[in-house]
């Protein structure tokens, strides 16, 4: 992960105690977090957690019932926010019967760009998406990945300081996904703050500087992956040893209050959690061997965002 300057006094975006209800449904129950300049923030949550509502509030598409949003320290005003925020919806929100160039030009104009600025941004967007040679082809004829790139480009024609992305890689192949994240990295490097919602936890883990998890309208975790792991599932590694024959009895080690037991009678796998792999794993292997079992395979699993997410939001289906 890249280092981010958290010491910056005024975040690009600050959300404080945001609440929003639809009738009896409380979509947001006091959401508070910030987004620093140039930061890539993964905004996660199960279906119905309130992610889309929050994104719509930030994009100025709906207003919160309560709470405040600050952009670079200034209170959120819808008209100004539209210049500072870029919004890329989950759907391919393009005109399929227009060409790439015409789509980019249209959304550039909608964002208030004119003449030379529009021309320059159009040229940049075609380069950025790698679609210069397809500039005059109809978007409707493109593959899903290409459409996603144009979809993304239309949201940043006006060089927003903050980019809101609602699942930008749904339905695209790994190559296109890689390309899209390279494009986002490029934006981030120029100081654009990115707030990305996704259900691809590997993307969030690998491609973000910070993670915020929302559940039932509330922020349940906020921090880097390491911080979240430490706060939730802990840093212990899960070790799995596959042995050459079923255990005749659990393997015991230590004495008195330090005694530990590994495995269960009849099983061919022993699993346990250890704090330090380099210190504890050789001892564990040695113990198993001393009990007369051969080691067929060893697996060490570090705690991942997947574990953190399920730990924080539970295993129950949400829809």
């Amino acid at each position: 992960m890249r280092s981010v300057n958290y010491a910056r006094p005024t975040p690009a975006l600050a959300i404080h105690d945001l609440r929003k209800s639809y009738g009896d449904l409380h979509a947001l129950k006091g959401v508070t977090f910030g987004l620093n300049r140039g930061e890539r923030l993964a905004f996660l949550g199960p279906n119905g957690a309130g992610k889309t509502t929050l994104i719509r509030c930030l994009a100025g598409l709906t207003s919160a019932d309560h709470g405040e949003i600050f952009l670079a320290g200034q209170p959120f005003k819808s008209s100004e926010a539209r210049q500072q925020i870029g919004f890329v919806p989950q759907e391919i929100a393009l005109y399929a019967d227009l060409t790439t160039r015409q789509n980019l030009e249209a959304f550039g104009r909608f964002h208030g760009l004119r003449r030379r600025v529009l021309r320059d941004r159009l040229a940049w967007a075609l380069r950025w998406t790698g679609l210069e040679d397809r500039a005059d082809d109809l978007v409707g004829a493109f593959s899903g990945g290409m459409q996603r790139r144009v979809n993304l480009a239309c949201g940043v024609m006006h060089e927003p300081r903050i980019l809101l992305l609602d699942e930008p890689t749904v339905g695209v192949d790994p190559q296109s996904r890689q390309r899209i994240f390279m494009m986002l990295d490029e934006l981030s490097a120029t100081g654009t703050s990115i707030l990305l919602t996704t259900h691809h936890l590997d993307e969030a883990e690998e491609r973000s500087d910070r993670i915020v998890i929302l559940d039932q309208g509330m922020v349940v975790a906020d921090g880097s992956l390491d911080e979240l792991v430490e706060q939730s599932v802990g840093t212990q590694r899960l070790v799995r040893l596959r042995i050459d024959r079923p255990l005749s009895a659990p393997i015991r080690a230590g004495v008195a209050e330090h005694a530990a037991s590994f495995g269960a009678t009849g099983e061919e796998e022993i699993s346990t959690r250890i704090d330090d792999v380099s210190d504890h794993l050789p001892g564990l292997i040695d113990l198993v061997r001393r009990r007369g079992y051969g080691i067929a395979d060893v697996q060490v699993e570090a705690p991942s965002l997947h574990h953190v997410f399920l730990h924080l939001t539970g295993y129950e289906l949400r829809d």
């Binding site: 994009a59 598409l61 709906t62 207003s63 919806p89 989950q90 929100a93 909608f110 964002h111």
Partner: protein, 397 residues
Amino acid sequence: MILNVLQISCRRLLHNRVELLLTFLVPIAFFSIFAIIFGGGLGRGTTPRIKVVAVDEIQSAVSSQVMSALAEQESLRFVREMGADGLKRDEAMELVRSGSATMAIILREDREQLAAELMADASDQVAAQVVSAVVNRSIMLSEAEYQVSQLAGSEQDEDGNQLADDAASDPNNELFGIEESLQRKVQIIDVMGEGKANPVVSMYAAGIAVMFLLFGATGGGGALLEERENQTLDRLLSTQMSMDQLLLGKWFYMSSIGVLQVGVMFVWAQLVFDVDLIGHLDGFLMMTVVTALAASAFGLFLATLCKSRGQLNGLSVILILTMSALGGSMVPRYLMSEELQQYGLWTFNAWALDGYTKVFWRELPVDALAPQLGVLLMSGVVFLLAARVLAVRWETD
């Protein structure tokens, strides 16, 4: 496999309640509308009455009797009280030309005998035949009654009926059923269609034009719903553009396309069917622009009223075809009962067709279009405002 396809299709239909409703509702709705128009269901007892004026140039006893007989006819409606203000032939013709009356009945003398001229607006192709028959009958009966009373008075015959019977037996008698005689007694003069190459076609062109303006407008409104469904609307509203600008932009676009669409159709009508577009360009443009604006606003209103494109399609088909039927795009309104004609005034089609009729058929100056232009423009504004109010939910949900 075939059974499976059938089963799935039925299940999908059952799950889509709006579509299911429309599948059965649309045919019933249209059957009912046409049954009402042609069967007199709704307008029973209010069969269409022909708007006429009558001028008695003779002022004789017989002509007065004819006028009285005409006044009692249920099929006629006198738009001016008979003989009240000394209506002259020219004024009566002007009333026909302006559309205030469908026909002017002029009672005059022809070779010392009572005759009638019917100044007709040939756009109503039924009225001339009906009024001709009614006037003929009234003249014949009045003359017969008059002659009978004269004969009875002079005691030339002890029984007037016998005289009448005798007269009927004479094949050359003018009183009863000789075609030649009738033609001389009642003469139909088309005061509207004279000099026009193909006058009625312009009215049908207008009827079709208005119907397709409405279809085009709801299609354009559908694009708005499509943008909402694929989140393009959200994206647009996250830019500098406001909902006001979006709706106005779409309104102007749909109206422009509508004007072009109708324009192209009338150019075709001029080239192929001799409709005089060039000669009526000012009135045509005024009517077409305002009708297109009103129809586009209606399309946007329907789009913002509906939740999905499927709903819009169903609703628009019902409304547009109903409006077209009631408003005279499919069947001339003069064929409908008075009551239905009144209902027709709640449709775009009726006002637009009245306007086009004034332009192409009556050839009235453009200031005569004020009521039609006013109503259409006002309804356009009202629908646009209603669409704006309905679209608020898209900005706040």
